[in-house]
Amino acid sequence: MKVNYAWLKDYVGDALPDTGKVTDLLTEHAFEIDGIETVGSHVVIDVDVLPNRSSDCLSHRGIARELATILDTDLKYDPLAIKLNLAPTDKIQATIADTSACPRFTAALITGIEVKESPGWLKERLESLGQRSINNVVDATNYVMYAIGQPLHAYDADLFPQVDGKWQFGVRFANVGEIVEILPEGGSTEPRQVECVGTELLIVDESSNTPIGLAGVKGGQYAGVHDGTTNIIIEAANFHPTITRKTARRLGIVIDASKRFENEPSRDLPLYGQYKIIKLIEDIAGGTYEGTLDVYPEQKENPAVSVRVSKTNALLGLELSQADISAIIARTGSAVTEVEPGVLSCTGPWERTDLLIEEDFIEEVGRLHGLQNITSVIPETTTPGAVNPQQHYSEQIRQILLAQGFSEVITSSFQKKDQIQLQNALASDKSYVRSGLSKNIAAALDTNFTHTDLLGIRSVKVFEIGTVFDKTESGVGEHLSLAIGVRQKGNGYTPKDDAPLQEALDALETGLGVTLESKSEQGVIEVNLSELIAALPVPSAYSSSSERKVTTYRTVSQYPATARDIALWVPAEFEAERVLAILQENASSLCVRIDLFDQFEKDGRTSYAFRLVFQSTERTLTDGEVTDIMDTINQVAEQNGWEVR
């Protein structure tokens, strides 16, 4: 919700601190701030209003009230605290077919207005929020919505047929296949035709049963306000949050109005909306107010909630007195009375529909008192009660395979084609969930083989432990699976790959004390781990936490690596580590690893063979660059009295 700072000041008055302090206070006690921007001479704060406060805080008055609560002050001007005295009218009627879907419907008649450009202050305020100015009447409806949170819609009364001298509105559900024409959207100039499925709530012109808008979601062009309009009817209603949301989601229309209705604003709000817009229209468009129709079949009031001092302190970890708690809750505008010592009866202000249970009020106490006042309780070192077999054995398998030189990978759960397809996939090549890990492991062997030099490994050995899905009689089944793969030659599986796989399998069999039936298929073995673990004894103790190596991480380069080998005759007093250190010192930062791969002694000298791997994170290295580095290394070798073979 974009909030104009000057607009806030209308309500809060001089007690409003500067923007920096405003954003700090909101962040600490209420909402996250998404940003601050300057639009012309206006400062606009983007407040990320939480879902539970979208009923009252998607408005300038709501944010102003929140700030006043945090600052423990009163609003200088509160548009929701005025005494309503709206004259009734019998010239408008409304028939509500389902009162739970539309708990309140109001319509005000204003005659003799002049549609024209909005005054500068109004245009500026709307534009600061990113809203284009249209004309004074439409702008007024938007202004009131941003001011207090009530969506409104204006009709040209002369384009709306009357029956027996009365305008007749209806609110009913749509018929299947019924067509509603709604206002153009998203830069289009053409109205959008919507075909209904029957769950949409419609506003209709009762005289001809013509749909004129999707209730709470989007208005139509029917009886639209235009340059020559002189008499208007303003609608302000309350619609069921779920019905509004369903229609808005189905049609992909999420606009300011539906966003407010789906968060259940107070049913008392529509008349305050009427009061405010009538005053505003009189100011900027002239005319005479004739009266308001108010149909309010489903009244609802906020509940009185018992709030215990003991429970409040028990959840927050604080030691507040009853007087403290009572005073903090009262700051929200709630009515607070003592039921008995230690128990308060609290009723939220009418515009807050989110204060319904004891914990809701406890949250208010916590955040207004300040969450920074909560003191940490240091946890005690203890042993957990039970050991989880799946975790325990998975960890054991990991350790066994890591010791065998395998690396653990985690691969995607999505597949291009498999047994079970999702209803709403991310992309056509990711629309199935995997029924096994083997395919991904085989792919990992392929991609990693090209990097063996860079990794300093002779063969690729990987494993994955992960969940797989299959079709069962009762629906979608799942189990934990283990897949192990080995690749020694780049051009695919060779039977030689089975030997290291068998070694790994033997190590698992010994470590776990089981017999594994699984066979290698193209250098990959897959085991149903859930079944395996179920057959193993229940573990009784957690392994103790071990000292871990310090890990640092470097971005993986997108550019190819180049390897060069060097073989050296070195006097026996030079140890491998020293030779390696000297090479590292002189091999430039482009050398990403050096591995010793061969070593033997003869006639008091040692022969070392090293593989040097070069790679840049910024570009593909040229042959010349690498040769230059190797030349330097050759020179260094000679200076040390080594013979390059």
Binding site: A30, E32, L315, E359, T381, V387, T411
Partner: protein, 227 residues
């Protein structure tokens, strides 16, 4: 990395739990106080299984929190569990978002548990995980399954890491909502508890400076072998 996280929590008495990745709507949403059609469900872009494949509406779990509901229903209180696991969100992937990622859920329900226990436990965890004294602060937030709900920021007080000295938003948490306790057969007047959920990938990004979350699921050993 998950193993490292696990050990920090087992040292202070948390035990492991797990749950299905193909989870029913009942546990993924209903039992966690996400009422049907409530706007809070928009916070989770969900993958659904086809109706013909399942007897009850089923999703790829959008969070590890369903295990809270399952555990309380099966074992009642007290409860002190952590749940590491893969979760899924139907979102376009980029360097900081993956459609699949790892989450770590924590739940501690007992007599007299309050927000101070949550704060102390998280400070303990981060200090161990980032190998330096770390403080935690709470800001107001909203999640359907907790009340009060908080956003958790952490700040590393020591060391020369890039993270040191800066407040960083790390997770959502709060006191378990009474509706969740009741759904699990636990009396909210007798027991209280906290719950938290964080992205493990995100912790990795912070600790190791990983630039692209998608690397975690690439199966690329140039990435994996560094850990």
């Amino acid at each position: 990395m998950i193993d490292e996280i696990n050990h920090i929590f087992t040292d202070i008495g948390f035990s492991f739990e797990e749950g299905p990745e193909a989870e029913t709507e009942h546990y993924n949403f209903d039992q966690l106080n996400f009422s049907p059609e409530h706007p809070a469900r928009d916070m989770h872009d969900t993958f659904w299984f086809k109706g013909k494949d399942v007897s009850d509406p089923t999703v790829l779990r959008t969070h590890t929190s369903p295990v809270q509901a399952r555990f309380l229903e099966a074992h009642g209180a007290p409860a002190k569990i952590i749940v590491p696991g893969k979760v899924f969100r139907n979102e376009t992937t980029d360097a900081t978002h993956e459609a699949q990622f790892y989450q770590l859920e924590g739940l501690h329900v007992d007599k007299g548990i309050h927000l101070g226990h949550l704060k102390g436990t998280l400070e303990y965890f981060f200090s161990k995980f980032f190998s330096g004294k770390t403080e935690v602060r709470f800001r107001p937030s909203f999640f359907p399954f907790v009340e009060p709900g908080v956003e958790v920021d952490m700040r590393l007080l020591e060391g020369d890491s890039k993270l040191a000295g800066k407040w960083i938003e790390v997770m959502g948490a709060g006191m378990v909502h009474p509706n969740v306790l009741k759904a699990g057969g636990v009396d909210p007047d007798e027991f209280s508890g906290y719950a938290f959920g964080m992205g493990i990938d995100r912790l990795g990004v912070m600790k190791y400076g990983v630039e692209d979350i998608r690397d975690f699921y690439s199966g690329d050993l140039r990435f994996v072998n560094q850990f």
